[in-house]
C-alpha cells in the first residue's frame, strides 16, 4: 500500500483537528449568545468581556418572557405561519411532483423549468405588489396571508426535492397496487408516500426553517404587534433594549430553540435525503 499506518494516523488526527476547528468557528456565535443570555446586566457591560458568566442568572429570559410579547404573540404567530405554511406546501407539492414524475404530457418539461425559474425572482420584487394585494383584500396582519405567501414561495423548492424522490421510486410498485384495485390517489397515499417519507420530511424541514426565519415579507405585511412574528419582534426590540445584550441574546436563543429541536429530531432523514442528491438538479 502507498499509505503507511503512520500516515493514516496522521490523516485521522489532522482531519479530526480541522473538523473540530470548523465546528468551533461555526458554533462560536451561538455559544457566545447562549452564555451571554445567562449573564446579569452589569456583566454584559464589563470590560474585558468574558466568555462565561461569573454569576449565572436567568434575568434576561425573565425580561423577555414577562416584559415583551415574544412568547405571548410573536412565537405563537411564527409557529402558526411556519407550520401551516410548510405542511400545506408539502401537501400541494406532493401532488404536483407526482404528476411531473409519473405522467408524460405535453408541456411537462417546460412547466417544470418555468416553476423552477420562479426561484430566480428576487423575493423583494414581489413585496410591493403583494402588499397592495393584501391591503385590497383586507389580509394585512393575518396568518392566512402569510401562509399563502409562504406556500407560493416554497412550492418551487419542494416540487424540486420531491420530484427527485419520486423519480427514484420504481413505478412498477404503484402499477401492482393499481392492478390490485387501488385508485391513483390511493396508490399515491399507500405506496409512494410511505416510501418517500425522507423526501417529504426534508421538504418539510427546509420549508419550516425557511418560514420560521422569514423576515422581509413578515416585516412588510405585519405591523400590528399581535400579528408580528419573532424575527419582526426581534427587529423592533432595537428601540427598547439598547445595551441589555443579555436580553437580546435570551430572545435570540428562544427564537432558535424550536427550529434546532425540529432539526435534531429529523436530522437523519434530512441528511440522508440531501446526501442522496435531493438538490442535485
Amino acid at each position: 500500500m502507498v499509505r503507511s499506518a503512520r500516515q493514516k494516523l496522521f490523516d485521522t488526527i489532522s482531519v479530526n483537528g480541522l473538523l473540530v476547528m470548523v465546528c468551533v468557528v461555526s458554533l462560536f456565535p451561538v455559544a457566545y449568545a447562549l452564555t451571554t443570555s445567562f449573564k446579569p446586566q452589569f456583566e454584559v457591560l464589563t470590560r474585558p468581556p468574558m466568555f462565561f458568566p461569573q454569576q449565572w442568572t436567568v434575568e434576561g429570559y425573565e425580561e423577555v418572557i414577562f416584559n415583551t410579547d415574544l412568547i405571548r404573540y410573536h412565537l405563537v404567530n411564527t409557529f402558526v405561519n411556519a407550520f401551516g405554511g410548510s405542511v400545506l406546501t408539502v401537501a400541494i407539492a406532493v401532488l404536483a411532483s407526482y404528476a411531473f414524475s409519473r405522467y408524460r404530457f405535453r408541456g411537462s418539461k417546460v412547466l417544470q423549468l418555468l416553476i423552477l425559474g420562479l426561484i430566480m425572482i428576487p423575493s423583494l420584487t414581489n413585496l410591493v405588489p403583494l402588499y397592495r394585494m393584501a391591503s385590497e383584500l383586507g389580509l394585512l396582519n393575518t396568518n392566512v396571508w402569510m401562509i399563502s405567501v409562504y406556500i407560493a414561495g416554497g412550492l418551487p423548492w419542494s416540487i424540486w426535492v420531491l420530484k427527485a424522490f419520486f423519480d427514484s421510486i420504481p413505478a412498477e410498485l404503484e402499477e401492482a397496487a393499481q392492478i390490485d384495485g387501488c385508485s391513483v390517489l390511493m396508490s399515491l397515499w399507500y405506496v409512494v408516500v410511505p416510501l418517500s417519507a425522507p423526501g417529504m420530511v426534508t421538504a418539510f424541514l427546509m420549508e419550516f426553517v425557511f418560514n420560521w426565519n422569514e423576515f422581509l415579507v413578515a416585516v412588510t405585511m405585519l405591523t400590528k404587534n399581535t400579528a408580528k412574528t419573532a424575527t419582526v419582534g426581534l427587529w423592533s426590540f432595537q428601540a427598547s433594549f439598547e445595551t441589555a445584550f443579555h436580553v437580546w441574546m435570551a430572545a435570540c436563543i428562544l427564537i432558535m430553540l424550536p427550529v434546532i429541536v425540529a432539526f435534531l429530531i429529523v436530522r437523519r432523514s434530512f441528511f440522508q435525503a440531501i446526501l442522496q442528491g435531493a438538490l442535485k438538479g
Binding site: S26, T125, V149, A152, F215, L275, K280
Partner: protein, 304 residues
C-alpha cells in the same frame, strides 16, 4: 433547468390505469392547486412589478411614465455604487462559500468516526435566521463589549470594525458565509460520495497525489452539482437583504449597501415604488444572465 438522465431513465411507464380515458386529466387536477397559487402569488406580482416599474405612484394612483424610472436609475450614483458593492459582496461570498464548503465536504468525506456528530454541529448556523444571526454577530463586534472586537482592538486602535467601511464589509461577508456553509458543504458531500472509491484508490496506487486526484477525478465528476450550487449561491448573494440590513443597515456611509439593500430602502423606506420596481427588474435580469452564463459554462465543458 438541469435534467437528470440517470433518474429519468427510471420512469419508464405510466401506470396502467392512468391510460384509460377517465384518468387522462388526472395530472392536470394534481397540478391545479400549484398552478393557481403560483399564478396568483408569484407570477402575477412579478408581472405587476414590471408594470409598476413604468409608473409613478402619486396619491395612490399610478401614472404611466414610460422608461423614466430606468433612465433615472442609471443616472443615480448611489445605485451604480450599490451595483459595485454587490459585485464585491457576491464575489467574495461566492468564492469563500464554495471553497470553504468544498474543503469541509472533503474533510467530512474522509469518514472519520465522529462524522455524524460533526455534521450536526456544523449544521446549526443553517437554522439561525438572518435577524438572529445579525443580532448575534453585531454583539460579537460591539464597540465596547464585543468579545471578538476585544481581540481585534490592538490592531484597530480600539475602533470597532463596524466603523470602518472595509471592516463592516468583512463582517457582512463572514456572517453570510457562516450562514451558507452548512448547506453548501452538505450538498458537496453528497456529490463527493458518488465518486467511486475504487477509482480514487487505484489512482493513489498509480502515485497520484490527493490534489491531483481531486482535480482530475473527483471535481470533473461533481461539476454539475458545483454549477448548480454556484448558481444558487450567486442568486442568494445578489438577493441577500435581511442579514445585511440587521448587521449594518447598509452603512457605514453606504459601504455595505448592495443593490438589494438599496432596493429595500428606496421601495420601502422612501416609498418610491416605481423606482424600487425598476431596480427589482434590473436585479432579476442580472440573476437571469448569471444563471445562463453558468449553464453555458456547464454545457461547453460536458460537450468537450
Amino acid at each position: 433547468m438541469v435534467t437528470q438522465p440517470a433518474r429519468s431513465a427510471v420512469r419508464t411507464t405510466t401506470p396502467a390505469v392512468a391510460r384509460s380515458r377517465f384518468n387522462r386529466f388526472v395530472p392536470l387536477w394534481m397540478l391545479l392547486p400549484t398552478l393557481l397559487i403560483l399564478l396568483a402569488l408569484q407570477l402575477y406580482p412579478a408581472l405587476y412589478s414590471v408594470y409598476l416599474s413604468f409608473n409613478r405612484i402619486q396619491a395612490g394612483n399610478l401614472i404611466w411614465v414610460g422608461t423614466r424610472n430606468y433612465e433615472r436609475l442609471f443616472r443615480d450614483a448611489r445605485f451604480i455604487e450599490s451595483l459595485g458593492t454587490s459585485v464585491v459582496f457576491v464575489g467574495c461570498y461566492l468564492v469563500l462559500t464554495l471553497s470553504i464548503g468544498m474543503l469541509i465536504a472533503v474533510l467530512l468525506n474522509q469518514r472519520v468516526k465522529l462524522t455524524s456528530l460533526y455534521m450536526v454541529l456544523l449544521f446549526i448556523p443553517w437554522v439561525v435566521s438572518d435577524v438572529v444571526a445579525g443580532t448575534m454577530w453585531r454583539w460579537l463586534f460591539q464597540q465596547d463589549y464585543g468579545i471578538i472586537q476585544q481581540w481585534l482592538n490592538p490592531f484597530t486602535n480600539n475602533v470597532s470594525l463596524y466603523a470602518n467601511p472595509t471592516g463592516s464589509m468583512i463582517i457582512v461577508i463572514l456572517a453570510s458565509v457562516w450562514r451558507a456553509l452548512p448547506f453548501t458543504s452538505l450538498v458537496f458531500l453528497g456529490a463527493l460520495q458518488t465518486v467511486p472509491r475504487e477509482v480514487l484508490e487505484s489512482a493513489a496506487m498509480d502515485g497520484a497525489s490527493r490534489i491531483t486526484s481531486f482535480s482530475r477525478i473527483s471535481f470533473p465528476l461533481i461539476r454539475p452539482t458545483f454549477i448548480v450550487v454556484t448558481i444558487f449561491t450567486t442568486i442568494g448573494g445578489l438577493n441577500a437583504v435581511g442579514l445585511i440590513l440587521t448587521l449594518t443597515g447598509g452603512g457605514p456611509g453606504g459601504a455595505t449597501q448592495t443593490s438589494g439593500v438599496y432596493l429595500y430602502k428606496i421601495g420601502w423606506q422612501f416609498g418610491d415604488f416605481g423606482q424600487g420596481a425598476a431596480i427589482s427588474v434590473v436585479l432579476f435580469l442580472i440573476n437571469l444572465v448569471a444563471t445562463l452564463f453558468y449553464l453555458q459554462f456547464q454545457r461547453e465543458r460536458t460537450m468537450g
